[in-house]
Symmetry: C2
Subunit: 284 residues, 2 copies
Amino acid sequence: MSIAIIGLGLIGGSLGLALKRSTPAGLDTVGYAPHPETVALAQRLGAVSRTAASPEEAVQGAAVVILSTPVLAIKGLLERIAPHLPPGCLVTDTASTKVQVMAWAQEYLPAGVDFVGGHPMAGKESRGIQVAEPGLFQGCCYCLTPAPHTSPQAVQKMVKLVEQIGARPCFIEAAEHDYVVAAISHLPALLSSALVWLTTQDPSWPKMAQLAAGGYRDLSRLASGDPRMMRDICLTNRDSIASWIDRFIQGLGQFKDWLAQDEALEAALSRAKEARDSWLKGRG
Amino acid sequence: MSIAIIGLGLIGGSLGLALKRSTPAGLDTVGYAPHPETVALAQRLGAVSRTAASPEEAVQGAAVVILSTPVLAIKGLLERIAPHLPPGCLVTDTASTKVQVMAWAQEYLPAGVDFVGGHPMAGKESRGIQVAEPGLFQGCCYCLTPAPHTSPQAVQKMVKLVEQIGARPCFIEAAEHDYVVAAISHLPALLSSALVWLTTQDPSWPKMAQLAAGGYRDLSRLASGDPRMMRDICLTNRDSIASWIDRFIQGLGQFKDWLAQDEALEAALSRAKEARDSWLKGRG
């Protein structure tokens, strides 16, 4: 029984490498990606043991199918592979938004095939198979969103797979996932892009570019992420992201009011510092 | 002739260590800080060769005086040390805002004493002498804002000092400095604090804390900075920061509108990515 990985970027490639490393006896992994060079490179790097010429071919005889593409590509893929999935097969994905993906799975997957939404909380701002690494998921929280009708066996299979690559399974309801991840991942990414978008258009940007240091580098890191992936995330999690943008605008306006009130400003800054430091401490 | 360092935190301490490392023949550096334990630790770590019991004592016989305290403390210090400064002495500071500091220097320093505003574009989110390191300024841009009447000799002395610690002197007018640094340093710091302030007050924070990963860690890093230092920065650069907050709110609102327009959104994200990637590349 094989594991099919469809989409061989940073996440799909790293999953293949992590699975290979944790299966000393060898594992049959089949890879597919739209660009033949990506597929060839994935095989050369050892992320998959063999390749397929199409998604339909990749899922033949698969016990597990992992969809690791930008969110909006998942809909079409589910439609294409649905008729070719072996009964008892487990399908999962790695996308950053879950409500939309769960709805598509419900719509397109046949009875006898289980779906468990997945989202590993790990990544880099660089994309592509060339930056994939087997240790990417080590110790990370791997969100799992089974549907109410998903079989316990499928959930158990997914938990085993997550633990096998060194990650911690974190069960969460799809809507809560999208709300939470909008706050801690999608909003930060847009703040980062908006900061770069604004500053680099300023007439003083040449001077800014010269002076900008570690603070700007860190705050702008997420702006270097894949624009298409981020666009898909925004389009499939619009309401949560829009609501967090509104709240952020209000919060930042509050900070602006505090610019003239030294005590309130220092109290808010101190509160943020303590909260961040204690979060970091909790992560060990 | 000695160098006096008043304020022995991350920056003052690192300056002392960097000066010591780059002067094999030995250098007479005198340190003062309000807490005796800080002064003792600075001497034990080798950041200063001797200590003083007061700012007045520290500047006696000094060729160079470096004020490395939170911005708002500089005013009182200039007032206190002014009557004790040897003629021909060079006074400089390391604060993140320059217009206000230049005005105080103009107001309090006697004729025969030169002032060159300074701001090394280097730092960490941690504070204090215990995290000081001699290599902190290696390759960094060190902003210098001489006054129109500052003597060329004093400017030359300052340039030598900056180069001695491995940094690059970057001349900039004080008002432009404050505008530019508001965009690339002060605004990012407030975005970071506002993000943490907002998310950690949300009822879903426990779940967020569990899921938050590298993106949140980077975007929130500046929120771990020293609240008092940041408060002082805000109070002395209020107009530039307020104007950048307004522009950011407008820009983020624009991104919100684009959440429903896939092409415009992807174009803006791509533009930000390219600008950030090319900035990073330019830094080498």
